[in-house]
């Protein structure tokens, strides 16, 4: 049997007709016509991935058809719906809560995989190994001796005009070591069954994380099917990635540290980097987490600087070093290139490796392959003409209608816009542009892709397939992932645009022709691991995010409780002007920034409708600072940045909170406010609870906790201050409201029943060290926490943050609540207000002291001289 080895066997040869009557599975027979591919119509002009000829499945699809036939359409749909839910909840990608326009996962997974047989994959694999080897050699030459330019194998004009050809990276005297460790290619299959390379990715190829995620999702959805189909596992590929990085680390000694250099949290590429880092077992660092000292790269941690020897680079070259490789984007690690050139750190892929992914190079690949490897390309690239060559330009201008015109130089992250712009031009306009700057354009043959069925709720339709295939350097050659990320679109349009038109992805299965060995990424059991408990190696940025996450969780909770108390009063059947607690509550709302200060008047009645209208806005408006909704966005943002540090459940709760705490501020009423806030409170409590129960008591936990404690003390002090400024705060109802907001009503009642007096209330909320809601409790806890923070042993004296907690605690401990209350009742509110404002002033100092000492290792980088990277007076 040998159907469809990708070498274009005529349809039908060796195919096996798999019709419903042949399948003996009773489930399928009982629902006739419900084959998964029932409604899929092929296209005789294109290569069909699944059917050798109408109704005849290709051999390597049979196992899948058989294995899934027993599900039937209904069960398949049900499983898929469930898998999708899981995928959405656990997905790598998560939209920035403050910028909903940024798509984080622009495509959905399709439950039907793309299936390839082993033989075909082997030929793909051979071809990609060859291509990666070739691209690496070209890169090494161009950033080294440039013999290809001297020999005329590549036009100097093509290379020197390329903005990616950065002179600081080039050194003819010392040719670079291997530059390409990770490589990906976008492939398409022509109607004759042959695969073509449509594009190369050599900078920091993305997609492996998504391929992994897709595989996990499909395996959960139909656990037995992959085994029945004998598909090759992805783990060996990721093992090769680890091996490669270990190989690069080896020369740096036994304790060499490998770090994933990722884009900033919140950028679409961050998710994949964090996901991969977690899977592969490397710490994630953003460029702000790294510093260069004396040509050595360090990770900034709470315990100081910790050397880094290998960087798995997921950042573009022009985002890496603002000193020598300034780009449009701010950030980067100043001095990184120097460090790399000194050999103290190995970067994979090497800086500059993205040069060669520009389409212009594709025009020269056949020639370069002959020149450097002495053999023809094993897989052809899409025919490409670089217009910088006069003959090619003439050909292109004569055949404009049949060709796709693209920018010759890929500008990362602007490719889509560039392509879109070109598509909007008339042929005349394009010709004019080509004439003006021919070297900036390439023309490519229109790519015809193969088709495969795509699941659409309950039926299948036709999708056009492109395959992103991945390779990692291994020994002298490359290892290719047995699988990949198939991209499916509904039209033939260029890949750069298909995303916009609703592209989806498929997992890619390679059917093994032998038993599938299992490989684990875990370390072999016999290797001893040094025990580690300290946690001082926590990156400062992570500590900072945790600290602010703690503060924001607490702030959201306090404010939610206050809003809820006010809302309950407003919706009670009591006349509002007969509620003496309302003015102090409203004042607290204003003080904490929830509503306009104009509402703070003692006469409530005329303002009530306005407050009722204002409140939903103050709660749900995402565009205003300080609203509950924006607090939730902010804390989701913080959580995103430290997702790899928190438990999956904790993240899930935050996610849920972010998604559910939404209402249209224009139409929402007080009932909505109550309902949403109740749900929010449950989520916030869950977050706090998970922190207590599931985070190890290392430095990260301490910073989160410190954030919470400081914030709770600030909130409580501000609340009491705002309320006692209103007259009549010694009455029953306002005191009860205060206790309710401060979440201490139950404790109070258990102690004093229903007798409300200011003295005991103040004691409970300020000085009682056993009440986890009191100010004193927060400060005691802060004192314990700061005592555990890492200290520089060489410094003498009490650290500033310890001095501050100490002073604060003394101030509170020396307070006599009864005395303060008696004074207040006698009309002297001064001492009480003074205490509260003292506390409110010192807490920010404590927060600043902690920030300065532990968290702010990195400010934003400024440049002494500002250089443009590109000036262009042509357009």
């Amino acid at each position: 049997m040998g159907v469809a080895r990708g070498v274009g066997l005529p349809p039908g040869v060796g195919g096996v007709r798999l019709t419903l009557s042949m399948i003996s599975d009773p489930t399928l027979r009982s629902t006739p016509g419900q084959s998964l591919f029932g409604s899929y119509a092929g296209d005789p002009d294109l290569y069909d991935e699944i059917y050798a000829e109408p109704g005849v499945l290709r051999t390597h699809w049979q196992a899948f058809a058989q294995a899934t036939s027993k599900f039937g359409v209904q069960d398949f749909s049900r499983r898929w719906a469930q898998a999708r839910r899981l995928l959405q909840e656990n997905s790598l990608a998560y939209p920035d809560p403050r910028n909903r326009d940024v798509q984080s996962r622009p495509w959905d997974l399709d439950p039907l995989p793309l299936i390839l047989n082993a033989e075909e994959w082997r030929s793909l694999s051979d071809a990609l190994q060859q291509r990666a080897t070739l691209l690496n050699l070209v890169l090494q030459d161009l950033f080294g001796p440039q013999r290809l330019l001297q020999g005329g194998d590549l036009p100097a004009s093509l290379v020197y005009r390329h903005l990616g050809f950065r002179l600081p990276l080039a050194s003819p005297a010392t040719p670079p070591a291997q530059m390409l460790h990770f490589y990906a290619a976008d492939l398409a299959r022509a109607p004759d069954g042959k695969w073509w390379v449509m594009g190369d990715r050599s900078e920091a190829p993305s997609g492996t994380g998504y391929a992994l995620e897709n595989r996990i999702a499909l395996s959960r959805m139909m656990p037995t099917v992959p085994r029945q189909c004998q598909i090759m596992r992805l783990a060996p590929f990721f093992k090769s990635v680890q091996d490669r990085l270990a190989e690069l680390a080896a020369p740096h000694g036994e304790n060499a540290q490998t770090v994933m250099l990722s884009p900033r949290a919140g950028s679409p590429h961050y998710f994949e980097a964090a996901y991969l880092a977690r899977y592969l077992g490397y710490p994630v660092a953003e460029s702000g987490d790294l510093a260069v000292r004396d040509n050595q790269v360090y990770l900034k941690t709470l315990g100081g600087l910790s050397p880094v020897n290998v960087l798995m680079r997921r950042l573009n070259t022009d985002e890496c070093d603002p000193l020598e490789l300034p780009g449009q984007a701010a950030g980067g690690v100043a001095g990184l290139l120097q460090a790399a050139q000194s050999g103290s750190v190995t970067i994979a892929n090497s800086l500059g490796s993205g040069l060669i992914e520009s389409p212009a190079f594709m025009a020269f690949m056949p020639k370069l392959c002959q020149r450097l490897l002495g053999e023809p390309l094993k897989m052809p690239g899409v025919a490409t003409w670089w217009c910088g060559d006069p003959d090619a330009k003439r050909y292109v201008l004569e055949h404009l209608d049949d060709l796709t015109i693209k920018p010759a130089y890929r500008r990362r992250s602007r490719e889509r816009d560039d392509t879109k712009e070109l598509r909007q031009l008339t042929p005349e306009q394009i010709a004019k542009r080509i004439e003006r700057t021919p070297e900036r354009f390439v023309a490519q043959e229109r790519v015809v892709r193969s088709i495969a069925p795509v699941w659409n709720e309950t039926a299948t339709e036709t999708g056009y397939i492109a395959l992103r295939s991945f390779a990692v350097a291994s020994g002298d050659s490359y290892q290719v992932m047995p699988g990949g990320l198939a991209r499916v679109s509904k039209s033939h349009s260029p890949l750069e645009l298909s995303v916009l038109e609703g592209e989806r992805s498929k997992d890619t299965w390679v059917i093994s022709d032998g038993p599938v060995p299992s490989v684990s990424l875990l370390n072999p059991a016999q290797a001893d691991i040094a025990l580690s408990r300290a946690g001082a190696d926590l990156p400062s940025r992570v500590a900072e995010s945790l600290f602010w996450l703690g503060r924001q969780v607490e702030r959201a909770e306090s404010q939610a409780r206050l809003v809820r108390t006010v809302t309950l009063r407003l919706t009670s059947d009591e006349e509002a002007d007969r509620l003496p607690e309302l003015p102090p509550l409203v004042r607290a709302l204003a003080e904490l920034g929830q509503i306009e200060p104009d509402f703070v008047l003692d006469i409530m009645k005329p303002q009530l409708p306005a407050i009722e209208n204002q409140l939903p806005l103050a709660v749900f408006d995402d565009t205003q600072m300080g609203t509950l909704r924006s607090l939730v966005s902010g804390l989701t943002m913080q959580a995103l940045g430290v997702r790899d540090r928190m438990s999956i459940d904790c993240w899930r709760v935050i996610r849920q909170m972010n998604e559910r705490f939404v209402a249209d501020p224009a139409t929402a009423d007080l009932a909505d406010v109550l309902e949403k806030i109740d749900a929010l409170m449950v989520n916030l409590s869950a977050v706090s609870g998970l922190v207590v129960e599931s985070m190890t008591r290392t430095q990260g936990w301490r910073f989160l906790k410190l954030g919470q404690r400081i914030e709770r003390a600030v909130q409580t002090a501000t609340l009491i201050h705002a309320m006692v400024e209103c007259p009549g705060m010694n009455e029953h109802a306002p005191l009860e409201a205060l206790l309710e907001v401060a979440d201490s009503l139950m404790t109070y009642r258990s102690r004093y029943l229903s007798r409300m007096k200011l003295g005991p209330v103040l004691d409970l909320l300020i000085t009682d060290e056993s009440n986890p809601r009191s100010i004193a409790f927060q400060i005691v806890d802060c004192e314990n926490l700061v005592a555990e923070l890492p200290q520089d042993q060489s410094l003498r004296g009490t650290p500033i943050e310890q001095q501050l907690t100490h002073t604060l605690l003394n101030r509170v401990r020396r307070t006599d609540s009864q005395h303060l209350a008696r004074n207040y009742e006698a009309g002297a509110s001064g001492p009480l207000l003074l205490l509260l404002s003292d506390v409110s002033k010192m807490l920010p100092k404590l927060s600043d002291a902690i920030s300065h000492k532990y968290l702010i290792h990195s400010g934003d980088v400024q440049r002494l001289t500002e250089l443009d990277t590109e000036s262009d007076t042509d357009e």
Binding site: V102, Q150, R293, N295, E496, R863, T865, E866, D868, D872
Partner: protein, 369 residues
């Protein structure tokens, strides 16, 4: 001709700078007509790390880092430079310029490739039709290259007015062409742009030029300045310098520091730092002919005009329109290279401090990588 050269650059910061890293092109090149001794680069506060590595063009380039808190940074560079009078080529006997262009295309030797690199648009010098149009009258077919360049340089000197207020370091060459004003850096860029638009290679040279104090007056301390001009290959292996600002071909009064495609490649001081807030820059340059050194030490600095500028943080981008609107009172954003005769630079305004951007999502999608 022997010179004692001293170039001091001082940055003062409003806030503490925690870390700074700098790349400097301050060491004079050794060329056939230029040697130097007693080179000394002094950085205050003392750097924690200092190395030297040549750049792509063979210029000497120092890298240094300061890792402790500082409020000011002073970089002083001193050396004794010996400049031999250059023998000026016979302009009318040089290769026809159009022949240089066609020969260049066929020359794939390392030198040929380097020359070719200098014929392409670069970061600061784009190609444009207007530049070619301006250059044309000097380049009738078959005219000897160096003669044509000399003519172009003379025309620039005549057509353009020296005016440090008209442009800043970001002004594009085409804008300089429109304004007909600028400083030495602009004129060098402009001439290079003209030559490249015809397919000719030209490189940007940064350095210093000797100044002659007015008759009977002493030399002022720190009153000299950096200078810039251009160099052109004659197509038979030689490079020849032209100074559009002074309408001359340098002989022994120009000191060459570095060359590259444009200012961006050889910027004297280029650095990044964290913290600092707003900062001001002052530059003092002395090019003292050796014979004057024996006479007397230069006069007190009280009379010297220091060149004061404010540099704003990276990230502050202004549109060209805004920039030209604010000219006259506009700050320069980088150390400018001033031409001869030196004129005082307008005192800069304080630049806006960059807001720390915690998070700016790029409008892109995962498929882009």
């Amino acid at each position: 001709m022997q010179y004692h050269l001293r170039h001091t650059t001082t940055y003062e910061y409003a806030d503490a700078v925690a870390v700074c890293k700098n790349l400097v092109h301050l060491t004079p090149r050794e060329t056939a007509s230029q040697t130097h001794q007693n080179f000394q680069l002094t950085v205050l506060p003392e750097p924690d790390f200092l190395t030297e590595k040549p750049d792509y063009f063979g210029n000497r380039r120092h890298f240094f880092a300061i890792n402790s808190v500082h409020y000011a940074l002073t970089i002083t560079c001193e050396s004794d430079v010996d400049v031999l009078p250059r023998v000026l080529p016979e302009l009318s006997r040089s290769k026809p310029w159009d022949k240089v262009v066609t020969d260049l295309a066929a020359d794939r030797s390392p030198d040929g490739l380097m020359a070719f690199l200098f014929s392409l648009p670069s970061a600061r010098i784009g190609s444009s039709k207007q530049l070619a149009q301006y250059a044309r009258p000097s380049f009738p077919p078959g005219r000897p290259l160096l003669e044509a360049v000399r003519d172009l340089v003379h025309r620039i000197n005549t057509d353009f007015e020296f005016d440090p207020r008209a442009t800043n370091v970001h002004t594009p060459v085409t804008e300089v062409l429109r304004l007909r004003r600028g400083v030495c850096q602009d004129f060098a860029h402009l001439a290079i742009g003209c030559l490249r638009s015809l397919g000719l290679p030209a490189r940007y040279v940064s350095g210093y030029v000797r100044t002659h104090p007015p008759e009977g007056q002493p030399r002022l301390v720190g009153a000299d300045a950096s200078h810039a001009w251009l160099s052109v290959t004659d197509g038979v292996g030689g490079w020849h310098d032209f100074d559009p600002t002074n309408d001359s071909m340098p002989t022994d009064e120009h000191i060459t520091v570095a060359w590259g495609r444009d200012y961006a490649d050889v910027c004297p001081i280029q650095g990044v730092f964290t913290g600092g807030g707003q900062h001001t820059l002052s530059v003092a340059v002395d090019v003292i002919p050796a014979e004057e050194l024996q006479d007397a030490t230069p006069r007190s600095p009280a009379q010297s005009q220091q060149q004061n500028q404010t540099i704003s943080a990276v990230g502050q981008q202004q549109s060209q329109q805004e920039q030209s609107q604010q000219q006259g009172q506009q700050q320069s954003q980088t150390p400018r290279i001033l031409p001869q005769p030196r004129q005082p630079q307008p005192r800069g305004q304080q630049g806006e401090e960059k807001k720390p951007g915690y998070f700016q999502p790029p409008p892109e999608i995962p498929w882009d990588v």
